[in-house]
């Protein structure tokens, strides 16, 4: 079928619009016949809500899954991962193996987290076990570091107590819901500063799971040297890596924006050696895939959908990666020139995979793009392929055996590795 793709967006970002225009696609409004809609998360809620009764036709695709919040809301992500782990445990899967302290050997990648106010009492029990620890409070539905604060005393979160006289029915609504997680107070520091990793992951289908990881992620550094000192718990410039926060810091630099491309983590290999660095990256890929597998059963695998997530990962000083959160709508704002190029290419490669040949889509296609169009994406996990190879390969590698030659490839150009456990 000839004819150009008709696109709509409610996100006015040049990295998007330039990509549509360079393909010769035609801009339309959402009331007209459109083929491709890059929507904000508010819009996707409306499109798939029961009241609107929107029906997408075969030649329409959108950039979000209807219930992406199962992964991208902080409380639901944790709930789904906890549920997934329990299921695996029940099945007797070796993946759910625990150590002598009761910690999952392979699935402990989310810091201990509770929902407030629902789990308040459970949290208090945990808090009292190590009263000198620091916890981080995050509102479930917000982004960009808004509303986040650190606590080290129970009194600081009195109002989330279920029995609290100050709590009213209003605070039970999802707007006030918070998650509280054990704060990782021993982050890996480079140049004395805390940083996190932003990695982009494209999911084209959840069942079977097919996901791609963008090779060009980046590290976001704090502008201020890290200190776990309790006197600096309020200093967001020390603790929160969000650019939205850091850019207001005194030492924020507009040229590099406090960002490092993931390639530069060759620093880790140079100073710590190849084995531990390869293991770190392998673990990062592992936790991304496990998080997707955790939500796959509850995800509405609508064939009109694909999604590009922004994964936030923190590495601690023992080189263990932790999944902090997943963003459904990773920022397309560019803070520096390099940023703009990166995000432009990200959208370009995403569109090449999601809309094959740049032609009017047919959502019934098999969602298996040829290797040549991947651009800077690499296949992270392809369930169909993996099942073809036999599921027990996965288990063998996970029980600590050597990763083999492919798993141990050098990191010096930041290439992601096709791990052996596919």
């Amino acid at each position: 079928m000839a004819g150009k793709v008709k696109w709509v967006t409610d996100i006015e970002k040049s990295v998007l619009i330039n990509n549509f225009e360079k393909r010769g696609w035609i801009q339309v409004t959402e009331n007209e016949d459109w083929n491709f809609y890059w929507m904000s998360v508010q819009t996707i809620r409306n499109v798939f809500s029961v009241e609107t009764g929107y029906r997408l036709s075969d030649d329409q695709i959108v950039n979000h899954f209807p219930n992406h919040y199962e992964l991208t809301r902080k409380d639901l992500m944790v709930k789904n991962i906890k549920r997934y782990r329990k299921e695996l445990e029940k099945e007797g899967s070796p993946l759910a193996e625990k150590d002598e302290n009761g910690k999952y050997l392979y699935l402990d990648f989310v810091p201990v987290t509770y929902m407030l106010p629902a789990d308040y009492n459970l949290f208090v029990e945990e808090f009292r076990k190590s009263p000198s620890s620091t916890w981080i409070m995050k509102p479930c539905g917000k982004a960009q570091g808004k509303g986040i604060f650190l606590i080290n005393k129970l009194s600081q979160i009195k109002k989330w107590s279920r029995d609290s006289k100050t709590s009213s029915f209003v605070s039970q609504s999802s707007k006030e819901a918070y998650v509280i997680s054990l704060y990782i107070n021993n982050p890996l520091l480079i140049g004395g500063r805390k940083f996190d990793l932003r990695l982009y992951v494209l999911v084209s289908t959840y069942r079977p799971l097919r996901c791609y990881m963008y090779k060009l992620g980046f590290c976001r550094f704090c502008t201020v040297k890290y200190t776990p000192s309790t006197s600096e718990l309020d200093n967001m410039f020390v603790h929160l890596t969000n650019v939205a926060i850091q850019k207001h810091g005194e030492d924020y630099n507009h040229i590099h924006g406090g960002k490092w491309t993931v390639n530069n983590l060759l620093y880790l290999e140079s100073t710590r050696g190849k084995e531990v660095t390869s293991k770190l990256f392998d673990e990062i890929h592992w936790i991304i895939v496990q998080s997707l597998k955790a939500v796959a059963p509850v995800m509405n695998n609508d064939k009109h959908c694909f999604e590009c997530y922004g994964y936030d990962i923190i590495i601690d000083d023992r080189l263990k990666p932790w999944l902090i959160e997943v963003n459904a709508s990773p920022s397309l704002t560019s803070s520096t020139a390099n940023d703009r190029i990166l995000k432009y290419n990200l959208i370009n490669d995403t569109l090449n995979i999601a809309v094959p040949n740049g032609e009017i889509p047919d959502c019934k296609w098999n969602k298996s793009p040829p290797k040549e169009v991947l651009g800077n994406y690499e296949i992270l996990y392809d369930e169909e392929l993996a099942q073809g190879d036999g599921a027990d390969r996965e288990l063998r590698s996970r029980s600590g055996q050597s990763l083999g030659s492919k798993g141990g490839r050098s990191r010096d150009s930041g290439r992601t590795v096709l791990t052996t456990w596919k």
Partner: protein, 461 residues
């Protein structure tokens, strides 16, 4: 018989000329350096007078304590540097080099030099491509290289695995000469820090750590004017660099100590330059009151901190980082900003670059000259900094592997010429210096080893 006699006299005459020439070269170096040095010192002194800041002063105790407290984060809360300016920038230095003349020029024995159309007018001997191919034989097409043969498309069994194994063996045996030979094919990322230390014979003994701590104490106790210059340089260059901004604080810790390290003075024995001298106030010209200033004899210029920055990717203990940088400086980097006739000296490197371009890319060379874009004006800054800040980190480290492996900086002009060759098509279309600069502004995507290999071994000359 007559023919032989005249041949003989010609040969003798040439030898005499060469000998005379070499003496003249030495004189030339001293003269040129002498006047340049005077200029720099004058600039430093006038900055001193203008800003009423002494070249050196002892810090009051309170200030010492403060500095000690923020030793690990000197990047924050810096003093007001707006009135300071770098003593000189690479382009100033280039002007000096361009104006170097050998008074013996018209009797020079290299006829071809008369047709040299570049900026450097000193007829030093430089290698041509056949000689470079021999010198850099391990970079040839049939030898495995890191930076080429370790890419994802190449199965590691073909080269990478074995190369890593050999590297580990070299380290176990602590064989410095073998390491130097080995690293010509590039160093695996995980082994590089140790290999470089082995090649440079740096081992971190307790006395080395003590020495570094002593330097640190000097920094705490005394403030030097050059400190502000160092601050300024770091803030202007490394702090804004995409790769090195993270290590800003390390740079202060290294460079402030470096300027107080009198052991660096020893390198002036083989450097034709001499350390700048200053005189105690009121005792100008009286030799017994002369001190070297700064104590290490090295006045930093704009971009100096970029010599240290890449090393931060390898060493994170300050004393080890310091040792490695100091050794790299006294072996290699000093040649990039002092005048000499050494084959790795900046003058020879510039000449090598221009000669390569004029000989093997004549069309491009002439075109750029025509539009007022002498190639050296663009490539000079790359070479003075050994490409630091211009290449991506992993590529830069692969390049510096070869500097260590061949104990020579000649790879820098070869790479510079290779870059021009690579972008020749675009460069042929530009019509101004600014446009040429734009074509060559971004080298961050370049892969150095393929470029070098193609230029040296795969171009039909």
């Amino acid at each position: 018989m007559l023919q032989e006699e005249s041949d003989l006299s010609l040969t003798i005459a040439q030898i005499v000329q060469k000998l005379k020439g070499s003496n003249l070269y030495a004189q030339l170096e001293r003269q040129a350096w002498g006047s340049w040095e005077k200029r720099i010192l004058k600039s430093l002194n006038s900055m001193c007078t203008e800003l009423s800041i002494p070249l050196a002063r002892k810090r009051p105790v309170g200030e010492q304590k403060e500095l000690l407290n923020k030793w690990n984060e000197m990047g924050t809360d810096e003093p007001d540097l707006s009135l300071f300016r770098p003593v000189y920038a690479p382009k100033d230095f280039l002007e000096v080099l361009i104006n170097l003349r050998n008074p013996n020029y018209e009797n020079g024995d290299s006829l071809s030099f008369r047709t040299h159309l570049g900026l450097i007018q000193v007829p030093l001997k430089v290698k041509d491509i056949p000689e470079l191919k021999e010198f850099f034989v391990e970079l040839g097409l049939t030898t495995g290289q890191l930076g080429i043969d370790d890419s994802t498309q190449v199965p590691p069994e073909l080269f990478e695995n074995e190369h890593v194994r050999i590297g580990q063996k070299v380290l176990v045996e602590q064989d410095s000469a073998a390491a130097q030979q080995y690293i010509r094919q590039g160093s695996p990322t995980a082994l590089r820090a140790e290999l470089w230390a082995l090649i440079l014979n740096i081992s971190s003994q307790p006395e080395d750590i003590l020495y570094y701590e002593q330097l640190k104490t000097n920094v705490i106790q005394h403030d030097l004017l050059v400190d502000s210059l160092i601050y300024k340089d770091v803030k202007l260059t490394a702090s804004n660099d995409d790769y090195y901004f993270v290590f800003e604080d390390y740079l202060y810790q290294v460079l402030l100590c470096f300027s107080r390290d009198t052991s660096v003075l020893a390198h002036f024995a083989y450097n034709s330059a001499s350390p700048p001298k200053s005189y105690i106030r009121g005792k100008l010209g009286m030799e017994e009151y002369a001190v070297f200033y700064p104590p290490n004899g090295v006045i930093p210029f704009h971009g100096f901190s970029m010599y240290v920055a890449p090393l931060c990717f390898l060493y994170h203990e300050p004393s080890r980082l310091y040792q490695m940088f100091r050794e790299m400086y006294v072996r290699f980097f000093f040649r990039l900003h002092s005048i000499s006739s050494h084959p790795s000296g900046i003058v020879s490197l510039c000449l090598l670059f221009e000669t390569l371009l004029q000989t093997y890319l004549p069309q491009l060379f002439y075109h750029l000259r025509e539009i007022g874009a002498q190639p050296l004006r663009i490539s000079f800054k790359w070479m003075v900094r050994a490409f630091s800040g211009y290449l991506a980190t992993d590529q830069l480290l692969l390049l510096w592997d070869r500097i260590l492996g061949y104990n020579s900086l000649e790879i820098l002009p070869v790479l510079a010429a290779a870059v021009f060759a690579f972008r020749a098509v675009n460069l042929m279309e530009v019509t101004s210096l600014a446009a040429a600069e734009a074509v060559l502004a971004d080298l961050s995507t370049l892969k150095v080893m393929p470029l070098l290999q193609i230029f040296l071994f795969a171009t039909v000359t």
